[in-house]
């Protein structure tokens, strides 16, 4: 068990607003860590920094001991860190199967000449990737919709699809921004089940932003609490629930 991901004193300001103000976090391999905090605390901004959308103003982000802040999103994904988005963003005019099959890395057919000339290899890869995708879609209850266009999916299904797509990149660390937002009770259960299964069977590491406290408390350890772009607390579910400051700013009463 080592540290797979580390952010040190990360800060980022938009104009005069400090969205991140020296935020630090460490993720242990093969754990599910939660990141909670009131709206506007900077959780999504932190994801955007870690995912390469914004370079931070200060501080450093390490993945597997290598500095990754300042890299582009595609470079960060290729290193093994995949993130999802708070508001499910889908490739609407593409079908569900195309969405998930877009994600796998190292597809030979992504190069112009290979796409035209290396028929056998491309076909073989497509079959292999679909086998994985098929299994995943079945587990997540999306298999029936495999030929649907994504713009026709419900909000919950879109969220599921986004997680499927992220998993298909074959990441080591998955950063999920509110994975169960808009999902029904059943969908929430299957998303949680999938996260736990991936951690156990495939040794993945997770960082989860979530507002549903039952999800967080059952699934995640440790829990980081963020407030105004800074660290407020860190601990297991028990400790966080009894932390006076956290109760005051976030959990309420």
């Amino acid at each position: 068990m080592g540290v797979i991901f580390k952010a040190e004193e990360v800060s980022l300001a938009f104009g005069g607003i400090k969205a991140l103000d020296g935020f630090s976090i460490e993720l242990e391999e093969n754990t599910i860590t939660a990141l909670i905090g009131p709206n506007g605390a900077g959780k999504t901004t932190f994801f955007n920094v870690a995912g390469g959308i914004y370079p931070p103003d200060g501080g450093a982000v390490y993945f597997r001991g290598e500095r990754v802040d300042g890299l582009r999103p595609d470079q960060i994904c290729m290193k093994g860190l995949t993130r999802t988005f708070q508001i499910a963003r889908e490739l609407g005019e593409m079908s569900v199967w195309e969405n998930v099959m877009l994600a796998p890395k190292g597809q030979v057919g992504e190069r112009v000449f290979s796409s035209l000339l290396r028929w056998g290899t491309v076909k073989k890869q497509e079959k292999e990737n679909w086998e994985k995708a098929e299994e995943l879609l079945k587990e997540m209850g999306l298999y029936e919709e495999r030929n649907e266009l994504c713009k026709n999916l419900s909000a919950g299904k879109r969220k599921m699809l986004e997680i499927c797509r992220a998993i298909m990149t074959g990441p080591e660390l998955l950063m999920l921004d509110e994975p169960t937002a808009g999902a029904t009770v059943d969908e929430t259960k299957s998303i949680m089940g999938e996260i736990e299964r991936l951690r156990e069977e495939h040794g993945l590491t997770f960082l989860v932003v979530e507002h549903k406290m039952d999800v967080i408390m059952n699934l995640c350890n440790p829990i980081y609490v963020m407030y105004f772009g800074r660290n407020l607390a860190k601990g297991d579910a028990e400790a966080i629930q009894h932390n006076e400051q956290v109760r005051e700013v976030y959990l309420g009463g």
Binding site: P73, D74, L91, M94, L102, Q107, V112, L116, V122, A166
Partner: protein, 314 residues
């Protein structure tokens, strides 16, 4: 016999324009790169092949243009060399132009690409040593020596272009391109380099446009800069939008409808009233058609068809 010859003319032009339409589909339909500089890449292909293949007899034009030591007409290469040169050169020009252009957002890209095509037009007008300017290049050989056979050759290349563009659609590269079209941030977060993906689509499309230019040069056997003006670009856009952007069959249909019936089919109709009325009416009809389609059926006659996974994996 005359009517047959006329139909052949139209069919050849429709086929050559179809190839450009397919290329625009790669740019705009697949990847959301609004290329309004089609005429420029068409010109690069046409001039590349013309300069390489035009015969020595043509030297008189160079002398006339004041450049007796010009490049054109000195090489007399066979057609296939001209075709390959057209494809490669259009791709290389696309690459060089693409480096600054593809960093732009799509609306700016559209404006900048018109400018690029105009630049290429002015190169053709002014670089007398290479192109003999407005005098144009003449006596470009038609490789089959026969218009009927040449039409078959154009059809063959259209079939190849159609196959290539369809293959792009359904292989991983087409998925990446369409991913870029739908949402760049998502696609980047899935590990795909946006710039590289846009560039590969851009170069592929430019090369296909270059091939169409080559076919045009050897069909008309004489080219001059005035043929590579924005009207050429807009005609391609119109039939692609009417026929069905994102659907290659729709593009062929649009080419036949717009280029065949409206643009070419009415060209030889008897003049009604003043001689300039018919051509003007023709353009007005095409313009109105475009507005109607963009407003009421933006997906065109034939919309994008999504393949089922079962058909894909078979």
């Amino acid at each position: 016999m005359e009517i047959l010859s006329w139909i052949l003319t139209i069919a050849t032009i429709v086929a050559i324009y179809s190839i450009m339409g397919l290329a625009l589909n790669v740019h705009f339909g697949y990847t959301n790169l609004p290329n309004f500089g089609i005429a420029g890449f068409f010109a690069v292909g046409a001039y590349a092949s013309a300069i390489l293949t035009a015969p020595h007899r043509f030297r008189e034009m160079e002398i006339f243009a004041g450049f007796p030591g010009g490049v054109a007409g000195r090489i007399e290469a066979p057609f296939i060399v001209g075709l390959l040169a057209a494809i490669v050169l259009a791709g290389v020009v696309g690459l060089i132009i693409g480096i600054p252009l593809l960093r732009l957002r799509e609306d700016y890209l559209a404006v900048a690409s018109i400018g690029i095509a105009q630049t290429i037009y002015y190169v053709a007008v002014n670089e007398l040593w290479l192109t003999t300017g407005s005098a144009g290049i003449r006596l470009i050989p038609m490789p089959t020596g026969n218009r009927y056979l040449y039409f078959l050759l154009v059809l063959l290349l259209l079939a190849i272009a159609y196959w290539v563009v369809n293959r792009f659609y359904s292989t991983p590269i087409g998925r990446v391109w369409r991913g870029v079209r739908e949402d760049e941030v998502i696609t980047a977060s899935l590990g795909k380099s946006i710039f590289r993906s846009r560039m590969s689509a851009w170069i592929a499309g430019c090369s296909i446009m270059g091939a169409a230019g080559c076919l045009w040069a050897h069909y008309s056997m004489a080219i001059q800069p005035g043929e590579f003006v924005p009207t050429t670009t807009f005609l391609v856009w119109i039939f692609v939008i009417v026929g069905g952007l994102r659907n290659n069959k729709g593009i062929l249909l649009g080419a036949i409808l717009i280029m065949g019936f409206f643009e070419q089919g009415t060209r030889f109709l008897p003049a009604i009233g003043a001689p300039y009325i018919m051509p003007a009416i023709r353009l007005i009809i095409i313009g109105v058609l475009l507005v109607v389609f963009v407003r009421f059926r933006p997906q065109g006659v034939l919309p994008e068809r999504h393949k089922k996974i079962e058909a894909h994996i078979r």
